[in-house]
């Protein structure tokens, strides 16, 4: 199966407000899928559905189907800890814990009960190497993570996810706090990571979506207006609404 996530007739309400309307979306394995659209269109809400982060918000009602690896994740019986281990999330603002670099990376493993020092050390090295931080930080593993640059912090947050060997990385505006050069480096990292992971990114930066994604979806007022190959979306979108948005005629 090449689709790792599939939604069918997904609807989501924040109390009376409908934030997602009949979203049918298929996310392919080992690809970067970007969700674009104006503020409030539902793209972050959709992203948060994939690891049930919306459960934390009061008054949220979800209907329809969301399958991850063929399994329904909207079921009440689903183990959320396991789900969030396999589908991790990176946020707008890097959010390292006020702990050492090392403790940040192995945090997830510790929570999942791992105590063996050798396992933790191996995982920390591997995860930091995957985000190209190990060489930079190998002698500073005990320094407080809050002392890193923002870009390093964001890499560290990604490494923290990788240590628990997820399948999917959800990224909500992961570069919006970074300068263009740091942004470029995170984008490079994403294209490296997609060989092993599936990435879903929400971004306001259309050029970023165009540069890095393989597939792209345009959302407007809770609906997935158009979904397709990125090259096609940005050269010859089918839907007029998509065209208006990406050419800046929206509004």
């Amino acid at each position: 199966m090449t689709n790792i996530i599939e939604t069918d007739k997904l609807n989501l309400f924040y109390t009376a407000f409908q934030a997602l309307i009949d979203v049918d979306l298929k996310i392919e394995r080992n690809r970067i899928t970007a969700l674009i659209g104006p503020s409030g269109c539902g793209k972050s809400t959709l992203l948060r559905v994939f690891n049930r982060m919306n459960d934390l918000i009061e008054g949220v009602k979800v209907s329809g189907s969301v399958k991850f690896d063929g399994k329904e994740i909207l079921d009440n019986e689903i183990d959320l800890i396991t789900l969030r281990k396999r589908i991790g999330m990176v946020f707008q603002r890097p959010n390292p814990f006020p702990l050492s670099v090392f403790e940040n990376v192995v945090y997830g493993l510790r929570i999942h009960g791992e105590k063996r020092r050798s396992v933790l050390e191996a995982a920390a090295e591997k995860s930091l190497a995957s985000v190209l931080l190990f060489d930079e930080l190998k002698d500073k593993l005990n320094m407080n993570a809050l002392g890193l640059s923002l870009e390093q912090q964001q890499r560290l947050c990604i490494a923290r996810l990788l240590s628990v060997t997820p399948d999917v990385l959800l990224m909500d505006e992961p570069c919006s706090a970074l300068d263009p050069f740091a942004t470029m480096k995170i984008e490079e990292l994403m294209t490296l990571l997609k060989k092993q992971y599936t990435i879903v990114i929400v971004t306001h930066n259309m050029q970023q979506a165009a540069r890095i994604s393989d597939e792209c979806g345009y959302m407007l007022l809770g609906e997935l207006v158009e979904f397709g190959e990125t090259k096609q979306i940005f050269t010859a979108p089918v839907n007029k609404k998509t065209e208006d948005y990406i050419t800046g005629r929206f509004g």
């Binding site: 050269t235 010859a236 990406i246 509004g251």
Partner: protein, 221 residues
Amino acid sequence: MADGREHFQRELQKLNDLILKMGGMVEKNIFNSVEALKKQDARLAREIMTSDDNLDRLELEVDDLCLELLATQQPMAVDLRFITTGLRIGSDLERIGDLAVDIAQRAIELADQPLLKPLVDIPKMAELAEKMVHRALDAFVKRDAELARGLWPDEDKVDHYRDLVYDELVDMMSKDTKAASRAIPLIIISRHLERIADHATNIAEDVVYMVEGKVIKHGPK
């Protein structure tokens, strides 16, 4: 329409206008090149060469503007297709201009000797080729893919005339070898007019891409 993209829209309009300006000059030069041939008017033929220098300058202006817009505005979708089409049309029009110059040069060669025969098919070809350029640019301005597709039958007609001209002149040369020096330039001219029609067809194909996002060149139409 555009929120905050008025400047960009104005630049796109400027590109549109530059291409139309080139188109107008090119149409005039095609017409005049064959007029110069028919009327054996070397002075008119030379005017085309001066006009072509201006065309070359305009092509550079189109190139410049397109590159600037690509580099600075990150155009997407219909705008991206418009600009890349603009680049291609600019180069097609410049090539058409060169072909008109070449026809004018042949007209100068033939200006001081009697025409081999009254010109019939070449003026018809020229008229068709000019009409094709005009319609292709009209389709560009109106963003009308159907109008662009209307060019395909004319391209076949132009090819047909080129064959007629060729057969007739080869026949004349086989009967009278001294006719060659006046027949060969005419064969070359018919070949140039056919090339002009091809460039017009290229423009029309690019217009279809610009409007519909579909690539139709090098394939069945």
